[in-house]
């Protein structure tokens, strides 16, 4: 495992910006506001004095404590979603300066190193907005049900250890299992579109994260018992065939989940599965 691609490609840029970050500067944070589902959005800017090592969340916290815009108008605190603040819970995904990423790991020293630099925050566009930067990602979790993302154990009774596993399989599974359901891969995917109607979720494109999860469980000694059902789902509408192979997903995944590799593997699995079914006449 190495650093995720998205970070690797920018490491030098990040370090260079950090090195030139001006202490005691004030930055401008421009936020796309929205009062609720179906309401029109607008932008508001805030002037924020920053200290070293701040991130987008600590700036939003400052706005919450003192919700006054750059031109001195009192407003409401910005609403956003966050949890761990260390890029492991997946809650805080936003579109920052036009690119989707986690906001807790988005450091001000890197994004706005100089006096007056601006950072723009917008909610993800592929999920319905609840308020401001907070979106409803229920569809993302629904996709995990579609692929039966679990190992079908008999019960929690004490029945001894699970199947032994070789190191290579463990490391493949571990890499996929780090997926934190953040939705970056879905925001970036040209095939994954906003769908507000819950009834349409089961036939709309399932998304790269869920295809990878299907692979995760198919690779497990007991998990693979549900492989036929998973492959059926991925063969159906909104399945793996809907992927246009644009590979945007893997570029933005903050956890470096091997998405294109997994989509490829599941694509082959689905083909094999279709052939088997054809000969079995099912």
């Amino acid at each position: 495992m190495s650093l995720p691609q998205a970070h690797q490609s920018t490491l030098a840029w990040r370090q260079a910006n950090r090195a030139k970050a001006v202490p005691g500067r004030t930055i401008v944070m421009t936020v796309r506001r929205c009062e609720g589902p179906g309401k029109l959005g607008w932008f508001e800017s805030f002037k924020i004095p920053v200290e070293p090592n701040e991130n987008v969340i600590s700036c939003l916290q400052k706005i919450a404590a003192n919700p006054v815009t750059a031109d001195g108008k009192e407003t409401t605190p910005v609403v956003w979603d966050s949890g761990c603040l260390e890029e492991v819970c997946g809650a805080c995904t936003m579109v920052i300066n036009g690119t989707v990423r986690q906001s807790c790991s988005c450091l001000i020293d890197e994004y706005a190193p100089e006096e007056g630099d601006e950072i723009t925050l917008e909610p993800m566009s592929k999920f319905p907005v609840i308020r401001d930067l907070w979106v409803d990602r229920a569809r993302l979790f629904n996709s995990l049900k579609r692929v039966r993302g679990w190992v079908p154990i008999d019960s929690t009774a004490a029945l001894g250890p699970g199947p032994k596993e070789d190191q290579a399989t463990q490391s493949t599974r571990y890499a996929i299992s780090e997926c934190m359901s953040c939705g970056c891969c879905l925001e970036a995917c040209p095939q994954f579109l906003l769908e507000g109607d819950e009834d349409a979720w089961d036939s709309a494109f399932i998304g790269a994260h869920a295809i990878a999860q299907a692979r995760l469980f198919n690779l497990h000694g007991t998990g693979k018992n549900l492989a036929p059902e998973r492959l059926d789902e991925l063969m159906g509408p909104g399945g793996v065939a809907d992927c246009g192979n644009a590979q945007n997903c893997v570029k933005v995944c903050p956890k470096g989940v091997p998405l294109t590799e997994s989509i490829g593997a599941m694509g082959r699995g689905v083909t094999m599965h279709a052939v088997t079914r054809f000969f079995k006449g099912k």
């Binding site: 701040e54 919450a64 492991v88 780090e178 934190m180 007991t222």
Partner: protein
């Protein structure tokens, strides 16, 4: 009995394990969480989960040794039965997680790999990279999703617990909760309620915890009459990366895999750490604790770092920072074993710890105290408490089920309120005065799996089902919360009002200074006075958002009031415990005082004063005799320094 339901509040490891276990017993579960359960704070846990295993066993380790270590680590403050049961069950917990598909690291032969952790000389910590909590949480999340898709678990995510509903006999028969999006407040009926709402790091402002770990839910139960045990026992983790919004943990596994803590011998040494030769570095933990070295328990490591930096001004450059060094190790090995946490450091501090020593300092981390719970003793009842257990000694009791707690007894991990249970970090059981690393994940999952059966049994055998409770009880409870809600909204017009964020920040600073690493009576008195002032200001708080839709300010403002009440109990219990034990270190009472304080502090909320009435109750300790907790420290303690809490 098909209409019986159990409410689980909290979807971290404890809540999910409980949901799975109760649903498996055939009882419908309503699962409430402020965040999608997959994003619960448990996801942050890094290092691993402890259990006796075959390799360690063949070297002389045992479940019983794990039990003895846990008591010793906790300075004998924990009730002993639950600890015995938990450690005896631990291997089964690991096996089950393994069956659920947790990608535990593997040996070349395909067995589960193990690592060293604090407080033990044996490798007994199982791990999945450096994101063990995430991997365990996901496994339980997946099983819960399976039950959800079968209709056996109903999730209420983005719902906030506001209060327990108690019937006329004081039994818990449901909860009041609020939808954080629509702001709808309503009550829910249940035959039993399991609180699994985690710790309270936010009371201290910056901690290693997630942003929702306010302890608000526990405080609300406390204000409704649930007792709170050992409130003063708060763990400060020795190694975290200080930050503007939170302190990010650098897991103990970094030391378990060989990380060394040091400072330059000359504090004016301005060289890069890599340029400082071995002989000019002071490895103070290794010097002071030759046996355990860098792996002494957390409170000890924390106090030593604090001592070196704050008292001796020997931190890096004279400041509050020491090195945690992995750079002597093979980078590929580190990536494989610790990748997740090294990335965190790289991301937030901008340096690669594979090549440059990390700069760290202690931060508030874990809540040993919590909601007071009881249990039914198990089958192991020795004539006299046993002395210290040493590797290789005969084991006094085989690790069979039910030795420490009776499996399925309806009162296991029940609070003093009938029908109200507390599982996981939110209860006070298991960890005494200090938690050993990698024992928390175990206690959370064990609670859910083992004591989930107790909940199911209590519900199945009750002669007072919640369905008999009149609706008026539920309406009254939700009306009370609705009134509070309206009162908050009404504060918005109050122009001279106080800001909840400012109050919370001041509380955090004060609590960290007075009630963490080093405490004294006078400083705690001062802290209580400060909390009085903050509470008075809080009574004039003004909401900055009056939205009737998705109002996060309201949620935070309400929690701030609840945190103040909990903070008071933490500081007061700390003031009254006139001794030093585990994480609780009083310079004015530097020794452990078993005669007076080998006792649980129990805080009961007094509605008349709004404060805690604290009593000290005997520890249930029939199994092992307490002994001094030294971890083999060498050399007499250097002439007693007068360590002082900050701001005294």
């Amino acid at each position: 009995m098909s209409d019986q339901r159990v409410i689980v509040v909290g979807g971290g490891l404890a809540g999910l394990a409980a949901s799975v276990r109760v649903a498996e017993a055939g009882i419908a579960v309503d699962l409430f969480s402020m965040v999608p359960v997959k994003r619960s704070h448990s996801v942050c846990a890094q290092g691993g989960i402890n259990a006796c295993n075959e390799v360690a066993r063949q070297q002389g380790y045992s479940e019983y040794q794990h039990f003895d270590e846990t008591l010793y680590g906790g300075d004998f403050l924990a009730d002993q039965g639950p600890v015995l049961e938990m450690t005896a069950w631990a291997p089964k917990v690991i096996d089950l997680l393994d069956r659920m598909g947790v990608p535990f690291n593997r040996t070349a032969e395909g067995f589960r790999d193990l690592r060293l952790f604090g407080g033990s000389l044996f490798k007994r910590t199982h791990f999945a990279g450096a994101t063990t909590g995430q991997q365990l949480l996901y496994a339980l999340d997946e099983q819960t999703r399976r039950f959800e898709s079968e209709g056996k678990v109903t999730k209420y995510e983005f719902w906030e617990f506001l209060a327990p509903v108690l019937d006329d006999n004081g039994k818990c028969v449901g909860i009041v909760a609020q939808d954080m999006r629509t702001m709808q407040i309503r009550s829910f009926r249940a035959d039993a309620v399991v609180m699994a709402t985690g710790g309270n790091g936010l009371v201290f402002g910056q901690s290693t915890n997630s942003v929702i770990c306010t302890g608000g839910a526990a405080s609300r139960c406390y204000q409704h009459g649930a007792w709170y045990g050992n409130a003063e026992m708060i763990q400060v983790h020795p190694t975290a990366i200080p930050g503007a919004d939170k302190c990010r943990l650098m897991s103990e596994s970094a030391r378990g895999e060989g990380g060394r803590v040091w400072v330059p011998k000359d504090k004016a040494d301005a060289r890069k750490p890599a340029d400082i030769p071995e002989g000019e570095r002071w490895y103070f933990l290794e010097e002071r604790y030759p046996d355990y070295g860098n792996l002494v328990p957390r409170d000890i490591a924390t106090r030593e770092i604090f001592d070196v930096c704050v008292n001796d001004h020997m931190g890096i450059g004279g400041g509050n920072m020491v090195y945690l060094d992995l750079s002597h190790m093979d980078p590929d090995y580190l990536t494989n074993k610790l990748g997740g946490i090294l990335e965190i450091y790289e991301k937030f501090a901008g340096e690669d710890p594979r090549h440059t020593p990390m700069k760290i300092f202690p931060a508030v981390h874990y809540t040993m105290g919590g909601m007071w719970t009881t249990y039914t003793e198990g089958s192991y009842t020795p004539d006299a408490p046993a002395p210290e257990h040493k590797p290789g000694n005969a084991i006094p009791v085989a690790p069979t089920a039910g030795i420490g707690m009776t499996h399925g007894a309806p009162n296991n991990m029940m609070t003093n309120i009938e029908g109200l249970y507390a599982f996981g970090e939110v209860n006070f059981a298991y960890h005494g005065a200090t938690r050993l690393g990698a024992n928390a994940l175990l206690s959370c999952i064990f609670d859910g799996l083992f004591n989930g059966l107790s909940v199911a049994n209590a519900v199945q055998h009750t002669d007072r089902p919640a369905s008999d409770v009149p609706q008026s009880v539920y309406d009254a409870a939700s009306d009370r919360e609705q009134d509070k809600h309206e009162a908050f909204i009404a504060t918005a017009g109050n122009h001279s009002g106080e800001n909840a964020y400012v109050i919370a920040r001041e509380m955090g600073v004060e609590m960290t200074a007075a009630s963490t690493v080093v405490k004294t009576g006078p400083r705690l008195e001062k802290c209580l006075a400060k909390l009085d002032e903050l509470s008075e200001r809080y009574s004039r708080v003004k909401l900055s958002d009056t939205a009737t839709w998705t109002n996060q300010s309201l949620s935070f403002t309400r929690a701030t009031g609840d945190m103040l009440i909990l903070a008071e109990a933490i500081a007061r219990a700390g003031l009254l415990r006139q001794e030093s034990r585990g994480s609780h270190y009083r310079t004015d009472f530097p020794d452990r005082d078993d005669a007076r304080f080998w006792k649980t502090s129990v805080s009961r909320f007094n509605p008349a004063t709004g404060k805690a009435d604290v009593t000290f109750e005997p520890v249930r300790a029939p199994l092992v005799k307490p002994r001094p907790r030294t971890y083999g420290k060498t050399a007499p303690e250097p002439a007693k320094k007068t360590a002082q809490p900050v701001g005294s």
